[in-house]
């Protein structure tokens, strides 16, 4: 047991201490920060915080002289709406660039529904929206606050299918995005860990250290240590990314208060983890098997793609999974072990999946995981001392070590 720990520690530190790993781990957050930064800068540069004037002939704004609009990003300066008594004053202010635009509310607004905007450059649609909110707030000022805010914010539509019996809130963007993000992260993590593992197994052969290793530990201990050690490397990377992600979301929530309505469903998380974990180990063990049969790292890396391919298949059928989550194809994709990790969570978002299907999926995954671990161990023992000669699948099943 102690030796498994030593192998885990060695395999783990070997990767984590490398500069390459630190770069890899930082590349995604840096990329995301870069993208957000660009979006941010373009948002800020387009934002015009100059005041806006208005002339109220309709008396709907009930004599208000000033209104501060809520800025789209919380730290930006709010746009101030200023009352002008007549259009000439407003025009002069506009020409002197004191205001960016002015709105004219005619007496017959209720009949025409027309609001005139005068500006040198067409103002942002957000400014129009803010003026409308200002108008609505004024009109509804006698209505109780609860009701007025409900009217202004509008309704949120909840989708309830009679067939699928599953609710999805259109406002809850995370509901939609989460299965995709988690699926994407899963594929990333599997690929990272898998390729590390593949490397770790082939490396023993390339360095010819296999004999020393198996006369110091048992092949099972060595393999277990390698699998856990290298999976931990992938997990570390994943966790760091997720932490950055949470941090990013927290920042986004601060900056865009509108997003705060979203939430993450706990049962979804549990389901995702229940599928991801065995699938993670299964695919890694298969990669290790592959590594044990190969003799060169380069060759092994090329073969590793075999496992990535079926995992991304669900993304091709994403529309089917979303629109017809209970169609035979969707059910098949969510049960088939290679496509299950991506398909099942997506399906679960859009339909209530019968419990037996979930259990079946997880059961198949666990059984296959055990089988692949066994296979990895066996091919490891058989293939470990074969230098320059590949191990065939037939040999794995028929030969004794």
């Amino acid at each position: 047991m102690n030796k498994i720990w030593l192998v885990i520690k060695h395999e783990y530190l070997k990767h984590v201490r490398k500069r390459r790993f630190i770069l890899a781990i930082l590349s995604l957050p840096i990329f995301i920060i870069f993208m957000i930064g660009i979006g941010f800068i373009s948002g800020i540069s387009q934002y015009n915080s100059a005041p806006v004037g208005f002339i109220d002939h309709s008396k709907l704004l009930s004599g208000a002289t000033e209104y501060n609009a809520k800025p789209p990003i919380s730290f930006l300066k709010p746009i101030v709406f200023k009352a002008f008594s007549d259009e000439n004053d407003a025009k002069i202010a506009l020409n002197q660039n004191e205001i960016q635009a002015y709105y004219v509310l005619e007496e017959d607004y209720f009949q025409t529904q027309k609001i005139q905007v005068v500006a040198n450059k067409k103002p942002d649609s957000d400014v129009n929206k803010a003026f409308l909110t200002f108008l609505e707030t004024s009109v509804l000022k006698d209505v109780p606050a609860k009701i007025s805010s409900r009217i202004i914010e509008g309704a949120s539509f909840e989708f309830k299918s009679t067939k699928e019996n599953k609710q999805t809130n259109e406002d809850n963007i995370l509901d939609f995005i989460l299965p995709f993000i988690s699926g994407f992260l899963f594929i990333m993590a599997v690929n990272i860990s898998g390729s590390y593992l593949l490397q770790a197994v082939v490396e023993e052969k390339e360095n010819r250290t296999m004999e020393i290793m198996v006369t110091s530990t048992s092949p099972t201990q060595l393999m277990t240590g390698k699998i856990i050690g290298n999976l931990s490397v992938g997990l570390t990377q994943l966790i760091v990314w997720i932490l950055f992600g949470i941090l990013g979301i927290a920042i986004l929530f601060q900056l865009f208060p509108d997003l705060q309505k979203t939430h993450i469903d706990l049962s979804f998380l549990i389901l995702t983890i229940a599928v991801f974990l065995p699938a993670f180990v299964m695919i890694s063990a298969m990669m290790a098997t592959l590594g044990a049969t190969m003799t060169e790292e380069r060759e092994a890396q090329q073969m590793a793609g075999i496992f990535s391919l079926p995992m991304v298949i669900p993304f091709w059928f994403i529309q089917v999974l979303m629109e017809k989550p209970n169609s035979p194809l969707s059910i098949f994709l969510s049960i088939f072990p290679f496509t299950a990790p991506i398909s099942l969570p997506v399906r679960a978002t859009f339909a209530n999946i019968p419990l037996w299907q979930i259990l079946l999926t997880i059961l198949i995954l666990i059984l296959l995981t055990i089988a692949s671990l066994w296979l990895a161990g066996k091919s490891f023992r058989l293939g470990m001392l074969r230098y320059g000669k590949k191990l065939s699948l037939k040999e794995i099943f028929t030969q004794r070590p």
Partner: protein
């Protein structure tokens, strides 16, 4: 109790029979020679002893029973396929391997330091293994074989690719270890190296044990009734007592097979009586190479 008991082990790889019914014992505190030509099955025997391969039939006992994980810590193994982790510093590599043999962090650090100094590798310990020369890597590998002070040392072809200085160093280390009471198995096809070191030997050819026992007894058994002599004088073939005389390749050395009824003493006397001046007179002990050739030509072998 014998350190190792190998009983009737056989092993096939597919259609190829690597070992057929091989048996031998290794006694505590001896240097045991596991001999044979290339491809005879020496490495396979070692791998079976170390539980890397399972035998098709037969039993191996190590330290009085089946090998287990704890016993592995008592064994130091220098495989024929030399290998160290190339991509990490030498010191780290050795420490990792030592920790797998059950040494604590401080213990392995101290011992490795001592060995590095002894083997003149101290200044290279921060270098990556792949930056070291072949000879240095060889020495480093020897450190990882010995660092945990094993009771049983198994070394496969220890002299391959070593220069004479390092060959001598390895021999000295082996003697030193034997004097410390360690049991050593040395596998090699370089028979002359074994003659200096081994107490007992087993000779394997084409997967079969063809010769087994105490080296001195084996040599005695295969010693004919012959002498080596070095002389500038001419010895006629008709000289009394000579059955056959052969000039050796180098210098003025002769190999003389005597008539069975003539003793070495009598022959020496008659040489002196005939006033033949000689520099050397020696009872011819067959070298292991000679014994080996004699044995395999009886059992038959295919040289590839």
């Amino acid at each position: 109790m014998n350190t190792i008991e190998v009983r009737n082990i056989s092993k096939s790889f597919g259609p190829q029979k690597a070992l057929k019914d091989v048996s031998f014992d290794v006694k505590p505190g001896e240097i045991f020679g596991l001999l044979g030509p290339n491809g005879a099955g020496k490495t396979t025997s070692i791998r079976i002893i170390l539980d890397i391969f399972k035998p098709d039939s037969g039993v191996v006992n190590v330290f009085g029973g089946e090998i287990n994980e704890n016993k592995k810590d008592l064994i130091g193994y220098l495989p024929e396929e030399r290998g160290l982790y190339q991509d990490i510093p030498l010191e780290e590599c050795l420490n990792y391997l030592a920790s797998l043999k059950g040494l604590s962090v401080t213990e392995s650090k101290n011992r490795i330091n001592d060995f590095l100094i002894k083997f003149n590798l101290e200044e290279h310990k921060k270098k990556k293994v792949k930056e070291l020369s072949k000879g240095m890597q060889q020495k480093a590998q020897l450190i990882s074989t010995l660092v945990h002070d094993p009771q049983l040392i198994i070394i496969d072809e220890p002299f391959t690719a070593l220069d004479p200085v390092n060959t001598q160093m390895v021999k000295d280390i082996l003697r030193e270890q034997r004097d410390l009471g360690k049991t050593i198995i040395m596998s090699t096809h370089q028979m002359h190296q074994v003659e200096e070191l081994s107490d007992r030997i087993v000779l394997i050819n084409q997967g079969e044990s063809v010769l087994y026992g105490n080296l001195v007894e084996v040599q005695k058994k295969y010693a004919g009734h012959a002498i080596h002599i070095r002389t500038e004088s001419h010895i006629p073939e008709t000289f009394s007592g000579i059955k056959q005389i052969k000039k050796m390749e180098n210098q003025s050395r002769f190999w003389i097979d005597l008539e069975p009824e003539v003793s070495f003493q009598e022959f020496l006397k008659s040489l002196m009586a005939a006033n033949i001046v000689f520099d050397q007179f020696e009872i011819a002990t067959p070298t292991l190479d000679e014994i080996f050739i004699q044995v395999v030509s009886q059992t038959g072998t295919n040289y590839e």
